[in-house]
Amino acid sequence: MKINHKTQTHHLENGLTVLTREMHHVPIVSQWIWYRIGSRNEVPGITGISHWVEHMQFKGTPSYPIHELDAAISRNGGVWNAMTSLDWTTYYETLPANKIDIALDLEADRMTNSVFDINEVELERNVVISEREGNQNEPLFQLSESVRKAAFAQHSYATQVIGELVDLKAITRADLFRHYQDYYTPNNAVLVLAGDFDTAALLEKITNRYGGTQSNSVRTPTLLPEKTINQTAVIEKEGPGDTIYLQISYRAPSARLDDFFSLLVLDSLLTGPSSIAMFGGGSVSNKVSRLYQQIVETDLAVAVSGGLQATIDPYLYEILAILPPEKNTKQVIHAIDKQIAILQDNLVKQSEIDRAIKQAKALFAYGSESITNQAFWMGYASMFADHTWFDTYISRIENITPAMVQYAAQHYLDPSHRIIGIYRPAKKEGTLH
């Protein structure tokens, strides 16, 4: 096996951080560039701007005009895309190892040279609004949007990454370009490469491409992390369909804290194991989990899941249950609360934690077997901590004790500090109730 799991860190003089990991088992390289800019950095009036800028990064530079930009990677057998999240925006290309130069050129170029043509801005406004309209078709998007607004008093995590429609209609080309110039700068970026390359030769190429790029001072948002949800509220929404969605949201700790790992194990016990990698690799079902047993095996609901995102500031831990229309949400909430109370009042058996550790190890192995995923993980971890977060992921989970799980249940799953969101089918005309 020729996988070198050692990450090398390099810093260019302009502040660009470069992470490399050589893996020679297949002739592929995956390049990711991560910018510390996401909806976290946005304020009312420009919500959604980070995501829109991401779209504009596919609209061309003088060297790579629109359409040439996407053709360049594709014709070289590469796949590429981009994503915007709460804390970051990232662009990636995975392609044959002997074609890496084109990806290096392209990302270095569009860090500073994107055109933001006014006509393209207007066309993309429609595309982004269309994307939002597609999201709005989903009951869960509607519910989540309302729950997040209630869960944060001030913090920008309250807003969906795609932004508010009113802002998407109002943002100007000048707003977009300013955002791009402010945040797309080497000292706000982490460049990650994994795959079949020679690190020394690669670094020379990177230095040639990025070395002359000036860094800017980056405005960091003056955000006060919201450590608790200062209320307990029930948000009810109604809409078409025959499905009830019940979402219970608690404050989750920053991924930088040990508590995050305790909550990860707690979530595994409650709703089943889940990978926090955003690039698949595999999954494990949750039928043995406590909440599946208590609300699905008792026919109170048809599905349950949990969600925890790794973020800079405290975000949300969410439990989602899906109910047929005739079922009672109060019974489900009661059953969930009862299970959480058991975890708050009692130490779980070590064997349960051992199972969660085994599951986490398996998911981690599945999620880090591909070169694209290796590069993803290194950069992803760097957005809220640093790459050692990825390297120590398993050992930190192995250190979780029953007492730490109990503390996480007591501290984070407090029923007096949470938002409950319920989406119910609208009553149909002529239906007797």
């Binding site: 096996m1 020729k2 088992h25 297949v26 002739p27 359409h67 996407d70 053709a71 594709s74 014709r75 070289n76 057998g77 590469g78 796949v79 392609l95 044959p96 190892a97 002997n98 207007e122 406004r125 595309v127 269309s130 994307e131 939002r132 309209e133 597609g134 709005q136 078709n137 989903e138 009951p139 079949d196 390359f197 078409p240 369909g241 025959d242 499905t243 089943g272 690799g281 494990v284 079902s285 949750n286 039928k287 043995v288 699905v296 095996e297 048809v302 599905a303 899906i322 047929p324 229309p325 199972r355 085994k358 190890k361 398996a362 998911l363 192995a365 599945y366 077997e369 591909s370 694209t372």
Partner: protein, 426 residues
Amino acid sequence: MSKTIAPLSNVPGPENITSFILPNGIRVFSFHNPNVRSMVLIGILGGGARLDTADRVGLAHFTANSLSRGTRDYNFQAFHHQLESIGANLSFGCGTQHAWMNAKSLREDADTVFYLAAQGLRFPRFEEKYINRLRAQLLAGLAIRDQDTEERASMRFDQMLYQGHPYGFPVDGFTETIQAINSAEIIHFHHRHYHPEQLTMVVAGAVLPQRVKQLTEKYFADWEASRQPDAPIPPLPQPPTQLLQEHTTLAGKSQADLVMGTFGPARMDADFLPAYLGNHILGQFGLMGRIGKIVRSQSGLAYYASSSISAWADVGAWSFSAGVNPANKDKVVNLIRTQIAEFITNPVTKEELTNSASHLIGRMPMSLESNEGIANAILRMVRFDLGLDYYQNYASIIQSITAKDILVAAKKYLNPDMLLISSAGP
């Protein structure tokens, strides 16, 4: 700068795929991947939704999903405790043509996964309690599907294309058919259609071929062959001869989804690959090909707009889809029709041909990087009788396709005035 030349050993082929057939007819293919800690087991067999009848649409799906709800040796709880305790996954399902299984585990847990896979396929309990619980879950899934504009547009397109033929049935059924299916019907379907003669399994990952053979023999060799012939599938309908448009109204939605198209080549037709490469130019390359360029990039009318070819052994569909503001739906339909008209009139350019061929060839190592990718590639070669050297010859096969081949295929299947157009939304 690369230290390695494209390693042939990473592309599955006759010299690195190990295969054998058990006396009961089970075919097994394995590929050892020493670079990973996990293994993937996939398989297909009879029991696809094409065997459903109009009053029991969803029976094949219901049956497949029942296989993991308890078996001869393990009740539901114990079955999933075994799996989840080792961080493994095992699921059963079905498509139109086949039932399938899909499993993944760490290499040290291969024995458990083979054992439970055999249990599920061979000895499901079909307990009434779990059938009814699964029914509630399937009905909830249908309720969610019925509010999904993309799903509804696609489902209606299939129904329009196949005109009552089982290939047009939604695999997951309808509310009324799922409500009507009883446990006796599920047991009968399993008894009638799950047999070793039709089972093909592929294993890829950190398990040696000898171990795969040992485990297959241990858990599957005594499965007795007893297959009866399936009922004949009705003849396929004719392609559309005019434009036919239908809209499914869904209240409370902001966006409409659109699916339009007609029949395409079957996977084993000689013109499949020319059509596939042509479709890549038309609606896939870069940001969704010519269709994406005109609809999204140049007109800003949709977040997504692309084309695709889906093909089985005996038939295929060539379709175009987009998510649009309802006010722009007709504009998008017309833009796509204009692109189709151009595509069947003039050959693709040399540059387009070179670009798309390079992309398809260049991305192959990426699609074969994961165990899942390798296993599915092997299954595809076997299922469609492509030859085990298909991916090793893939580059030359793709490079041999000409613009004329593509034009001939395009003219054969596409006509902008003979399309089915399905949309769903407000």
